[in-house]
């Protein structure tokens, strides 16, 4: 029984890890080996960075990468500050209109607007084809606000009360007491927002018609999922590596940031920041 369990777990882990190994080794394999194998290569004969050099030399993929980085950085900053302010204010017991605001937040989880009205609203605000359309409509996650509010409610009341008595205003209590005490929570929520912006496909598909503004996920769809061939002109280079090498290099480029922040993310899973809020 115990051996069977261990085998099942090992198989599950292999199912997750092998695809990563496959795309990474193909992206690093020399172009002629990739052509010979007709696609995926599990063990590269030698290491070649040609595919990455082509993809990152200033063509469509590079531009999309920069768009994705910009949207992720700006979006996360906006989301985190707006959510923290809202969560903090609604966690203060003496706030006027607190119940009404909290009800609005909770009801937005139950009543989600459909795709058409959302699109028409973004259009009404004149945001179609703007980078703001990739940020503002998804900037506030009611779920994240509730998680953050639960955390602020759990902060020791004596500390904030003492600060108020000493004449601190709410801005000072927020920035000097509440935020420093919530670093771990802010890190987790921030990383979740960041992953969301990085992976965003729906908002870009819906609100951007102009291919020149595409983020990485739409470039991935066009050249990797739909397998449209990348030309040398698209990439701004003369010599083109094999298409599968390029595809894998784009895939790896879009996965690497997730892999980089993942250790920071997963360190907090065990602490129950998320599961506690989900159950509570």
């Amino acid at each position: 029984m115990r051996i069977l369990t261990a085998l099942v777990m090992a198989a599950a882990c292999a199912l997750v890890l092998v695809p990563f190994a496959g795309i990474i080794s193909t992206s690093l394999a020399p172009s002629d080996q990739v052509t010979r194998s007709g696609g995926m290569v599990l063990i590269p004969e030698s290491i070649s960075l040609d595919a990455y050099r082509s993809v990152l030399s200033g063509g469509v993929v590079t531009r999309a990468l920069l768009v994705s980085i910009g949207v992720t950085v700006v979006g996360t900053a906006v989301s985190l500050s707006v959510s923290a302010l809202l969560a903090y204010a609604t966690s203060r017991r003496h706030m006027v209109g607190r119940t009404a605001v909290v009800t609005l937040i909770l009801l937005s989880l139950l009543f989600t607007p459909g795709m058409i009205p959302s699109y028409l609203a973004v259009k009404d605000f004149g945001l179609i084809n703007s980078y703001a359309a990739l940020v503002l409509p998804v900037a506030l996650s009611a779920f994240n606000v509730i998680v953050m509010r639960a955390f602020f409610l759990g902060l020791p009341g004596e500390v904030t009360d003492a600060a108020r008595i000493d004449g601190a205003n709410e801005w000072q209590i927020f920035t000097r007491i509440a935020l420093p005490l919530s670093r771990a929570m802010l890190a987790v929520v921030g990383l979740f927002y960041a992953v969301g912006y990085w992976n965003a496909f729906f908002t870009a598909l819906l609100y951007l018609d102009d291919a020149a503004r595409w983020p990485l996920q739409l470039v991935l769809r066009t050249y990797v999922v739909n397998e449209n061939p990348l030309g040398a002109a698209d990439l701004g280079i003369d010599r083109l590596p094999a298409q599968p090498s390029l595809q894998m290099a784009i895939l790896v480029t879009s996965v690497v940031p997730i892999l980089c922040i993942y250790p920071f993310l997963q360190r907090h899973f065990a602490t129950g920041v998320l599961t506690g809020a989900v159950k509570g």
Binding site: L86, S108, P113, G114, M115, Y119, A121, L136, A200, F201
Partner: protein
Amino acid sequence: MSRQATAATRRSTLPARLREQWLLTLFTLPGLALLLAFQYYPLLGNVIAFKDYLPFLGVWDSPWVGLDNFAPLISGDPRFMNALLNTLLITLVQTVVAFPVPIMLALALNALVSERVKRVVQSILYLPHFLSWVIVVALFQQFLGGSGLINNTLRASGLDPIHIIGNPDVFIALLTAQVTWKDAGWAMILFLAALSRIDAELYEAAAVDGASRGRQLWHITLPGLRGIVVLLLILKLGDSLSVGFEQLILQQAAVGLDAAEVLDTYVYNNGIAGGNWGQSAAVGLVKGIVGVVLVLSANKVAHLFGEDGVYKR
């Protein structure tokens, strides 16, 4: 309360309190603005379901047409019915096949002895949840596609390739495999939390009484998971009319609309791509209302059976 504190309370006169209150109100403004603009304003925009949307007039000035936009729903338009049936079928298969996987994974993981191994396995299995659908679909293609790793290997060893990607007959199986690969590990986290809350003394007492491992599983472990299972099934039911828009839209071209059109992609293809704004909004509106009704009634049923559900009574 010390004398200082009383003095401080007295010092916080009305203007001072208003100033303090002002700051809190100010804090909520950016968040409220986003909530109103992108959640509540579009909710009002659902009136478009009862109008003939003319882009140059906008949502509010377009003419009213009563229930005309609901005609495809009422008359059972074949394209709409196809999308509805596909949605229900995919939800059903995914609930039956994919839902139990994380429970089994959590039980298996819990049976591992070493804490370190447990942590490593958890970290690996959570990872795919953080990848986008574009990446997941691309990975599946690279392995199972016509020129993917498996078919290349089959061809190299003189065997016939298997037609998986782009084959309507196995499309639901493929979707379910993708959902499982991406999210089964992550879904495990909630079951692990529930398992860790089960009192260890129950198992000790059962072991003393001579209960076998199977009986312990049946009488202690599974009842301990009931609350979270009910909660997740309610949420799943409320979502039963939405099956992964991104996952479907990415693979639709290869498989064809007969097998790969679901309600959300119907709304997109018919409305945003096809220009039938009112009809699509009508489908979206009915779908939203049905979802809310399903969650509320499932919650009611859960309460009748003494479970907490999504919210408490």
